[in-house]
């Protein structure tokens, strides 16, 4: 399956209840875990529409969580009061495609926010407003009744609040041992170390997993859709502050802290009444490093195939190494790496 207009036209016609004509297919460059494509198509009413296709890379996904879990989450979240794209259809019929994929509606907007990265203090207010918009939307995610939506049917559910972090550690260990690409004993050492320090959750809630600049769709300064649900889990809300790309950066003017992790946590508390500690967020940053290690390890498995994506070569090398270094330094085995080193990982050629 190469996702050409010719291949997709009959598939869209099958699923969308009418004769569809695919007009264009555009690949999105940024993603590292899966492939994303924007499709423009026309139904027999003559109107042009857009949708988003998600598929694994030809050699498999970077994320060990299956693609159909991502579709399941979108599908169930359609009934929740949070901004997400509507799931349209799942396609895995081998007579139509050799690579399963799903479609969701394309929400108008952009991950890129003009002037967000401009260091001019004139844009501080914009940065803070965007970050608050994101946190308030996350607070709505955390309030979702995940049992009523049936999300527990596919997501691991901790036994109770005290089990939240250990549940995530068990999941990571199971995935790591299943991959069996290359033994990395550091993973077992880190899981034990993290398990010894596992904090109880303030409450169990739906956590999005990957957050921040580049992960969501914005329109006119508001979140039009939360995207990237591939690392979704049921756990501690603090976990959602562990990876909040670009939205927790310290803004200090004239010695006054205008924004950063603590002001963000204070703002979250004002919305939810939950006081999340910095230490707990830092703990979940380590847990996310472990998860990223497992994902990078999964990339290495993809490299066994000749059709692996070049991006998987990167995650299987630099990202895999850095996640090991982060965990080793957290355990006191070696000095830490400067934060600037990690910031480099999130820069892409289209962020100029």
């Amino acid at each position: 399956m190469r996702f050409t207009p010719e291949e997709l036209t009959p598939i869209l016609s099958h699923h969308l209840g009418g004769a569809a004509t695919v007009l264009s297919v555009e690949s999105v460059a940024r993603g590292s875990s899966r492939e994303t494509r924007f499709v423009r198509y026309r139904l027999d009413d003559g109107r042009d529409r857009n949708l988003v296709l998600r598929s694994d890379f030809p050699a498999g996904s970077t994320d060990p969580n299956p693609l159909d879990l991502e579709y399941f989450i979108y599908d169930r979240l359609n009934a929740a009061d949070i901004p997400t794209a509507r799931a349209l259809f799942w396609e895995d019929n081998p007579t139509r495609t050799d690579r399963p994929f799903y479609a969701r509606e394309k929400i108008e907007g952009d991950w890129n926010i003009p002037h967000y990265s401009d260091p001019d203090p004139a844009y501080d207010a914009l940065r803070i407003a965007i970050a608050k918009e994101h946190i308030s939307t996350l607070a709505r995610v955390h309030a979702v009744d995940w049992r009523a939506l049936g999300l527990h049917e596919r997501l691991a559910v901790p036994g109770d609040e005290a089990d939240a972090a250990r549940s995530a550690l068990r999941h990571a260990r199971d995935q790591f041992l299943t991959l069996a690409t290359e033994p990395i004993p550091l993973v077992l050492e880190a899981i034990e170390w993290l398990s010894d320090r596992a904090p109880p959750a303030d409450r169990l809630c739906l956590c999005k997993g990957t957050n921040g600049y580049g992960e969501e769709v914005f329109r006119e300064g508001r979140i039009a859709a939360l995207s990237d649900w591939e690392e979704v889990s049921i756990g501690d809300p603090a976990a959602d502050f562990a990876f909040m790309q670009g939205f927790l950066v310290d803004i200090v003017r004239d010695g006054r802290a205008l924004w950063g992790l603590q002001p963000a946590l204070d703002y979250y508390e004002s919305l939810t009444g939950l006081r999340l500690s910095r230490e707990k967020v830092q703990y979940y940053q380590l847990l996310r490093s472990l998860r990223l290690l497992v994902m990078s390890h999964n990339s290495a498995a993809s490299l066994r195939r000749t059709d692996a994506h070049i991006r998987q070569g990167w995650t299987a090398t630099e990202v895999l190494h850095l996640t090991q270094h982060v965990l080793a330094s957290a355990m006191g085995m070696m000095p830490p790496i400067a934060p600037e080193r990690f910031a480099q990982l999130n820069i892409s050629v289209d962020m100029g």
Partner: protein, 169 residues
């Protein structure tokens, strides 16, 4: 053929992609892939130069560690686990008289590292009963020392290839 070396060829490829191909590219997806290719070419050049020695050092460190773990397990009465280590050391032995390829050395290191991982998993199971035992703690410390060594050694193939070298994607 001694010259050009594999590293020189890889560097020429990298420079050509950066100086000739990249400026002609307008498609973001292609530019993104090319950025990643540049980083990975530098990584490959480092591996061509250094991977053999790094693997040799790793195999030596793993053999030393496994010998210590074997002795601890044997003394602690864990005969099955000690025997598994002996078997791993035997299976990982490189053929005498044959120049080892990188593949052969990597396979050997994999067997040894798997044995360390298995031993660690076993020792973790035993922590509740042996956690205060000095010999147990020494075995665990020797594993941690190896883990730190392994990450430090691997850094030689990563940091010079990627750090401060531009967008990864």
């Amino acid at each position: 053929m001694i010259h050009p070396s594999a590293v020189q060829i890889v560097r020429a490829i990298e420079a050509t992609l950066a100086d000739v191909v990249e400026p002609a590219m307008v498609n973001i997806g292609a530019r993104s892939a090319l950025a990643t290719i540049g980083h990975l070419l530098r990584h490959v050049a480092l591996r061509v130069e250094d991977e053999g020695q790094l693997l040799a050092d790793d195999i030596g460190a793993l053999q030393d560690l496994l010998a210590r773990l074997h002795d601890y397990l044997d003394a602690a009465g864990d005969g099955t686990q000690a025997a598994e280590i002996s078997q791993a050391l035997k299976r990982a032995r490189l053929e005498k008289g044959r120049y080892p390829s990188l593949r052969m050395m990597a396979d050997s290191a994999m067997i040894l590292r798997q044995s360390v991982q298995d031993a660690l998993a076993y020792l973790q199971q035993e922590r509740a009963t042996r956690g205060e035992d000095q010999a147990y703690l020494a075995a665990r410390t020797s594993i941690r020392d190896y883990l730190a060594y392994q990450v430090r050694a691997e850094a030689a193939l990563i940091h010079p290839a990627f750090e401060d070298k531009g967008p990864r994607r």
